[in-house]
Symmetry: C2
């Protein structure tokens, strides 16, 4: 997606440790117009007539997933990071490792809101090693629902999460795949 | 807002400790159609021509704020709970107490994305004692921006957060104010 790549190239910052910071439009300040264009691009890549539920993980995926779900007239569920006592029993759970926070995190989602008859599209703003998406896929599997696909706005291609999904033949699309991020700036994979 | 009160009455659950669970449409599964109606109702209560930035706090406020911001063509910023090393210097900070998680939480937002010239509307899905909103107001004050107002979808009226804002003459609107929540169900303040 050309518009997204141009924004990353123009406004993205590379921090030590190959961290790509896109917090001016994607995951701290949200550029809603760009989010709508991302939603429209996902709609070209996925057959939304087969989707009846959008699933993401807190926190930074929520804005994109909510805007997409609204634009498509679908409900959205976000998996929570376990810590609250507001969520009682009846949960899907998946343990993932958060490289951002350097610790294990348990994703949880209520069994009330992902049902065996659902057809789920997983969306997230960013993927590096793909732990959050792995956890979300696991919860869809636990529920017995159908996984229609996985859509990611920005993939860090050199950290393996996207390639693992491609190797598993998941219906996977990333709209900008960063190939290198360093002192010389950011380059993208051609095919994204 | 009648539609919201009816949903809470019909689908809300009261848990021990006066916890009102509305996770089927507001803060775990997101009913996008309802969110759009909430956005339209906020648009009647606030003069959006005076607003150029929507501010909320992670995590559960993000969906509502993103959908409102999109519908109004405005950018949105969500304050993060400090824990990531992805956010370097240049931050507004506010310490709040999270009754949900029973611990102190530091809200942070980048100085890049809330500027002295901004006119900020704070939105959140839920307010009880109002700690998150207090933190968000504090960050707006730190920034030198103008606080145009505070909009909350569901206020737990008996926990004081909303009344404190009313006493401070903040331009505050809650769309459903829960007066009592117990074994006999949920009642609302008339004026909301």
């Amino acid at each position: 997606m050309q518009e997204l790549k141009e924004r990353i190239r123009r406004e993205g910052k590379v921090l030590p440790g190959n961290i790509v910071k896109v917090d001016g439009f994607l995951n701290h300040r949200i550029d809603c117009k760009l989010m709508e264009h991302i939603a429209d691009t996902f709609a070209e890549r996925f057959d939304l007539s087969k989707v009846d539920l959008i699933l993401t993980a807190e926190a930074s995926g929520i804005a994109l997933a909510a805007i997409c779900a609204c634009r498509w007239g679908l409900p959205m569920v976000f998996a929570k990071k376990a810590k609250s006592d507001n969520i009682e029993g009846g949960l899907y759970q998946s343990d993932i490792y958060s490289y951002t926070y350097k610790k294990k995190v348990t994703l949880i989602a209520s069994k009330d809101w992902i049902r065996p008859e659902n057809h789920v599209l997983i969306l997230d703003d960013f993927m590096a090693r793909g732990e959050a998406v792995r956890g979300l896929c696991e919860m869809v599997e636990q529920s017995g629902a159908e996984l229609v696909g996985v859509g990611i706005a920005v993939e860090k291609g050199f950290q393996g999460g996207g390639d693992r999904l491609r190797a598993m033949n998941v219906n996977y699309h990333a709209l900008a795949v960063i190939e290198t991020a360093g002192e010389n700036g950011i380059t993208f994979r051609d095919d994204a």
